[in-house]
């Protein structure tokens, strides 16, 4: 099995190396062939692994590949842990990645136009792009397949690096290189917490290995740490690790980088900033469930942060006009749903939503990309409209994706989102009431912004300029085929996966439980007990609040941006004007960006300048170093006057000295 797993991981890496270093020689065709072959192989094998877990009884794999180093009795290793949780992640990551690879052939076909004339960095940019996304796939697989904390951090930072390279892919654009620096630094703030969490584990558990740490965790549950006036060790570890997750999975207040990351090419927005990398935090917390279960304080913290992100970021989606930014805020909000599920100990539901979301959100991003191609790289939805006539495949798949997103009954998002809301409703942790209310209203918001965008893009009159309108047509098959292939799971995966993932205790069986839930936290228990099949679940769902809210959101969106909009095209602006200060608050994104820019970025620079000028220059160099040099010089100047060279001066000095000394001796 080791060779199989190594193949899954290394195939994309080899593709990335070949496309990256030999890109110029093998050409565009060679680069996309080799990377697609690599990722395709990984995807096939990963799907095989997943099915072998579902229908076969593939044993859990937990072995070391090589020893990175040993220091002070702690062994740092590179190794794989493959269980059902890993298998779900592997299949999702490689499948979406394969779709994105194929799609990229179409999306990046004209990339030479994105570079200034003659820029060498634009040469072979197509090949480089393929190299990066394959490298990303490798890094993400290393992250999810890790069996220890060190390798987790490796993968964690490696996906961050690729994200940095890809957000700033069009490196001549000022906005892109601002966004990638911002993304990296904000993520580093998260990693700052993350590495301290790992250090705490190293100190108290003396091991980096998941299995060993999890086995020891219950014994450590009672340890108190003398910090912040006494806090339990588990709470400290879990909160520190979660700070890492807040960076990577863009939770408030470390969410600020994700909307800006839309500066990157759309395929990576789909792959990295929607389907996979940003869900790493969710995966990580689910993986660490044996630790999180031991700290209710940490769970409450997770719950509150998640619910806050889910609701308030969704609201911002209402006032965005850039097609990618609407989807980006939607991603933030959906990540919030997943994180809230984790906080309610419904880890399985969080992972379930992670998976369904990966498909429908990748679909929505790629559909948005398809629209952007057709619109000649214009992204403002207020200048779109009526596209359904020109791009039927994009239209239908985007509609399916949107329905999945708002949780329309029967679609994949319905199952996962309902399960989350129900589980949070059963949670009794501090903050669960707050979370339930926000998540439920959030469903309305989701439906509203999703269909606002949908109607503005695909329905109504064409509002683009004549030139663009004249050239509108469906995108090539390399773009539409991935849309179709992603639309299929977006619709059906929920129906098929809910039983194995949530009901049949799939994650908790045998002697190794990928997800561990304490009995008193088991918020998915009512769902399991009252499970009478998917049809009954849908029927039950259609009598509950989330359904009504989703439908009223959809209805309101249809009324305003379809019916009213047809007569009054300025309705969007009028509504925003009506919102007054609320609209402004949302457009300012609650002021996070301004605050960070002024306090952290500006403050950091000012502090640096102050320390440099006053500390290094004025105090150390000015006063001490050059000052002592000057003092020596001045002293020398003074002392020099004593050596006059006149004999009578010296004679006087000698006499005075002699008298002085004699007086001293006599008086003694």
């Amino acid at each position: 099995m080791e060779n199989l797993y190594l193949t899954i991981v290394l195939a994309p890496l080899i593709g990335a190396i070949v496309a990256g270093f030999l890109g110029g020689r093998i050409g565009r065709r060679g680069a996309h062939s080799v990377t697609i072959a690599g990722v395709g192989l990984s995807a096939l094998l990963s799907l095989w692994v997943l099915t072998a877990f579902i229908w076969g009884d593939l044993p859990v794999f937990n072995e070391t590949i090589y020893n990175w180093m040993v220091s002070d009795g702690i062994s740092f290793e590179v190794g794989f842990l493959v269980d059902k949780l890993t298998a779900v992640m592997m299949a999702t990551v490689t499948f979406v990645s394969l779709m994105v690879h194929i799609y990229t052939i179409g999306y990046m076909a004209g990339d030479e136009h994105n570079w200034p004339h003659g820029a060498l960095s634009g040469k072979n940019s197509y090949q480089r792009f393929f190299s990066y996304i394959s490298l990303f796939t490798f890094s993400m697989l290393m992250l999810v397949m890790s069996n220890n904390f060190m390798q987790l951090f490796f993968g964690w930072e490696a996906v961050g690096l690729v994200s940095y390279l890809l957000i700033g892919f069009w490196s001549t654009r000022e906005s892109a290189i601002f966004a990638n620096l911002k993304a990296f630094l904000v993520n580093r703030v998260g990693d700052f917490g993350f590495i301290l969490g790992i250090a705490a584990i190293a100190m108290y558990f003396g091991s980096m290995d998941y299995a060993e740490v999890f086995a020891m965790a219950p014994e450590h549950a009672e340890i108190q740490v003398a910090l912040f006036g006494g806090v339990s060790l588990m709470t400290l570890i879990c909160v520190l690790l979660f700070i890492g997750a807040m960076g990577k999975s863009a939770q408030v207040p470390l969410h600020v980088w994700l909307p800006d990351s839309m500066e990157g090419p759309t395929p990576i927005s789909a792959l990295i900033h929607a389907a996979t990398m940003v869900t790493a935090g969710v995966f990580m917390v689910a993986r660490m469930s044996p630790l999180y279960e031991l700290s209710e304080a940490a769970l409450s913290f997770v719950l509150i942060i998640g619910a806050t992100t889910a609701f308030f970021m969704g609201l911002i989606g209402l006032v965005q006009n850039d097609i990618k930014r609407v989807v980006a805020y939607s991603t933030l909000s959906q990540l919030g749903y997943m994180v809230t599920a984790l906080g309610a100990s419904a880890y399985a539901a969080g992972i379930f939503h992670l998976m369904t979301h990966a498909f429908f959100k990748a679909l929505l991003f790629l559909a948005a990309g398809s629209v952007i191609i057709a619109m000649h790289h214009k992204q403002d939805i207020s200048h779109m409209g009526g596209l359904r006539k020109y791009m039927p495949i994009t239209w239908i798949t985007a509609l399916l994706g949107s329905l999945a997103l708002i949780g329309f009954p029967g679609f994949s998002g319905f199952f996962s989102k309902d399960a989350i809301i129900e589980a949070v409703g059963h949670s009794s942790l501090f903050g669960s009431g707050y979370a339930t209310v926000l998540l439920t209203i959030g469903v309305f918001v989701t439906a509203l912004y999703s269909f606002r965008m949908y109607f503005l893009v695909f329905h109504g009159k064409e509002r683009m300029d004549e030139h663009t309108k004249h050239h509108l047509h469906e995108t090539p098959w390399v773009v539409t085929v991935p849309l179709i292939l992603l639309a299929i799971p977006s619709v059906f995966i929920g129906w098929y996966a809910i039983e194995p993932m949530l009901i049949s205790d799939w994650f908790a069986s045998g002697d190794w439980n990928p997800i561990m839930v304490a009995p008193e936290h088991d918020t998915l228990l009512p769902l399991r007990e009252h499970w009478h099949g998917q049809v009954a679940f849908i029927q039950h769902g259609m009598t509950a609040w989330p359904f009504y809210l989703a439908m009223s959101g959809l209805g309101l969106a249809a009324f305003v941006w379809w019916l009213v909009f047809a007569r009054n095209p300025r309705i969007d602006e009028q509504l925003q004007a009506l919102g007054g200060p609320v609209t402004r608050l949302l457009q300012d994104k609650y002021g996070f960006d301004d605050f960070n820019q002024r306090v952290f970025a500006g403050g950091g620079r000012d502090l640096g300048r102050a320390l440099w000028m006053n500390g290094d220059r004025a105090l150390i160099d000015g006063a001490i170093v050059n000052g002592s040099a000057r003092t020596v010089a001045r002293m020398a100047q003074r002392v020099r006057h004593l050596q006059t060279g006149y004999l009578y001066h010296y004679a006087i000095a000698m006499i005075v000295g002699l008298v002085g000394l004699l007086t001293l001796f006599v008086t003694l």
Partner: protein
């Protein structure tokens, strides 16, 4: 013990090489270059013999050579290496090759003398790392200043006189006190052998004074806050090769000094003053991090970055005392020292490479100002790729060597104190901020001006130079185990030494107050 004198060869081969190059004169420039390169590579190969023949299972000195030098004062020609000095010697011989290649075409003023200075410097630095006699050590230590002084003073920038004098006075100021301490210990032990110093019993007052004397010498070299201000000036004025040697090797001599002298000779004073070093290290990490952020000059920025990274080295070394004095902690000390050691080696590669990168740009446009660049990647994609890679290593990205030491030191520091670890971990943010912000302004963006538009990408020589360093950074980052294995035995032995109480019997009570458990086991 009577084996082939490998250490002597590693010291004197480059020095002889330097004299040969010097004698070859400037008429035949290519002759001088190829001779220098041949000697540099040959020395590196010889030093590899040290690595291959090294027995990593023992903490004993190896490749020992010992003969009388000045019998009147019992001064000896006494050489030997252990798991701490051997990797540093190999680093020295490795980096020198790149320095020779880097000066290949750029240095037109007396190139043979320039190359000779570096080769002589190499031998002297190997001497510092392998000397086990205090006087021999001191001779090499001071001799090192001369070629460096000349390199900056002759081939340096416009403000080189100020920089050289500052450099010389700073370092000389420190080392005078060290000499006094060495002589004092000679009178106590009757020998100049450093190994004898290790087993010398010293009272607390003597230990404290000796510790402070060493501190002055080593802190300047590292350099530690607040005696660091010579470094940015020296770097800015030094030619590329000088900066590389300065950052990659000379700073390490300070760190090495703490391990070889301060910690084992004065463990009790070190323990009682560890708080000072830890505080200065944390200041170096945080304060210097902010200062680096606002530098306008690339070399200054990297120089400040070096100070911050060396802060990790001294932090890793001195938290050891907090850990061994805490009866609740059974481990962590070894990881601190090993982390500091890895950080030194890694910093040698990364800072060396970054200075070479700046040198590449300087050779073309003759400016180090960040503001004079922008969009370099549009004309120099190869350079851009290397620059981003080394910047990421400087920011401690896992998979590169920059991560290993930082990670280990943070892990070890966490054991000593949570808040120290918090301060140390800010480097994740600060180092990324100052390095990547520079990359953003220099490498990315639109072509800023005509000079950038006219840049030519790396030639084969430069690509090989940076490529080999990149490979080293990756190799150490992906598999540090071989380096760690070499150090384990020596570091374990060092931790035992620093845990022991060296106070004379009359003052023993003080030890027992400080560390009840360790004293009990060692008696």
């Amino acid at each position: 013990m009577n084996e082939f004198p490998l250490l002597t060869l590693t010291i004197w081969l480059p020095i002889i090489g330097g004299l040969v190059v010097l004698a070859s004169g400037d008429q035949e420039k290519s002759l001088a270059k190829w001779t220098a390169l041949a000697f540099a590579i040959l020395t590196f190969l010889v030093s590899l013999g040290l690595w291959i023949g090294f027995d990593s299972s023992t903490a004993e000195m190896q490749f020992v050579e010992r003969s009388a030098w000045i019998p009147t004062f019992n001064v000896e020609y006494f050489l030997g290496v252990d798991g701490i000095s051997m990797p540093l010697i190999v680093l020295t011989t490795f980096i020198t090759i790149f320095v020779v290649i880097a000066g290949w075409e750029v240095i037109t003023y007396k190139p043979s003398q320039y190359l000779a200075a570096f080769l002589i410097m190499e031998g002297v630095m190997v001497g510092v790392f392998s000397a086990l006699d205090a006087i021999l050590f001191y001779v090499f230590w001071e001799a090192m200043l001369i070629p460096m002084f000349l390199i900056i003073g002759v081939w340096g920038g416009p403000n080189r006189v100020y920089a050289t004098i500052k450099f010389f006075l700073y370092t000389f100021f420190g080392s005078v006190f060290m000499l006094v301490a060495l002589i004092y210990m000679y009178f106590q032990s009757g020998s100049f052998s450093i190994l004898d110093f290790h087993s010398l019993q010293l009272g607390m007052t003597a230990q404290t004074l000796i510790f402070i004397a060493f501190l002055l010498a080593f802190a300047v070299k590292v350099p530690m806050f607040p005696v660091h201000t010579w470094l940015p000036d020296a770097h800015v004025e030094a030619p590329t090769g000088g900066s590389v040697i300065l950052a990659a090797i000379m700073l390490k001599i300070g760190g090495y000094g703490f391990l070889r002298f301060s910690m084992p000779i004065t463990p009790d004073a070190s323990a009682s003053l560890a708080w000072l070093i830890i505080a200065l290290s944390l200041i170096a990490i945080v304060y210097i991090g902010f200062v680096a952020l606002v530098q306008q000059d690339m070399k200054k920025l990297i120089a400040y970055s070096s100070i911050a990274h060396m802060g990790f080295v001294t932090l890793g070394f001195f938290i050891v005392f907090t850990i061994v004095l805490n009866p609740n902690l059974s481990s962590g000390a070894i990881m601190g020292i090993e982390g500091g050691m890895v950080q030194m080696i890694s910093h040698g590669f990364i800072s060396g490479a970054l200075f070479l990168c700046v040198g590449v740009l300087y050779d073309r446009i003759h400016s180090r100002e960040i503001a004079d660049y922008g969009g370099v990647i549009n004309t120099m994609p190869w350079f851009g790729a290397f620059m981003v890679f080394f910047a990421m290593s400087n920011a401690g990205l896992p998979g590169t060597s920059g991560f290993v030491g930082e990670f280990m030191v943070i892990l070890a520091t966490f054991r000593a104190d949570f808040w120290w670890a918090v301060l140390a971990a800010t480097t994740l943010i600060l180092a990324a901020a100052f390095t990547l912000w520079m990359v953003k302004r220099v490498v990315f963006g639109e072509v800023k001006n005509d000079k950038v538009a006219a840049l030519s990408d790396l030639d084969l020589r430069e690509r090989i130079n940076l490529g080999v360093l990149a490979a080293a950074v990756l190799a150490l980052g992906l598999w540090p185990a071989p380096l760690m294995n070499v150090m384990h035995a020596t570091v374990e032995n060092l931790v035992t030494q620093v845990s022991a109480c060296k106070l004379p019997a009359a003052e023993r009570a003080e030890c027992e107050l400080a560390r009840p458990e360790t004293v009990a086991t060692l008696n």
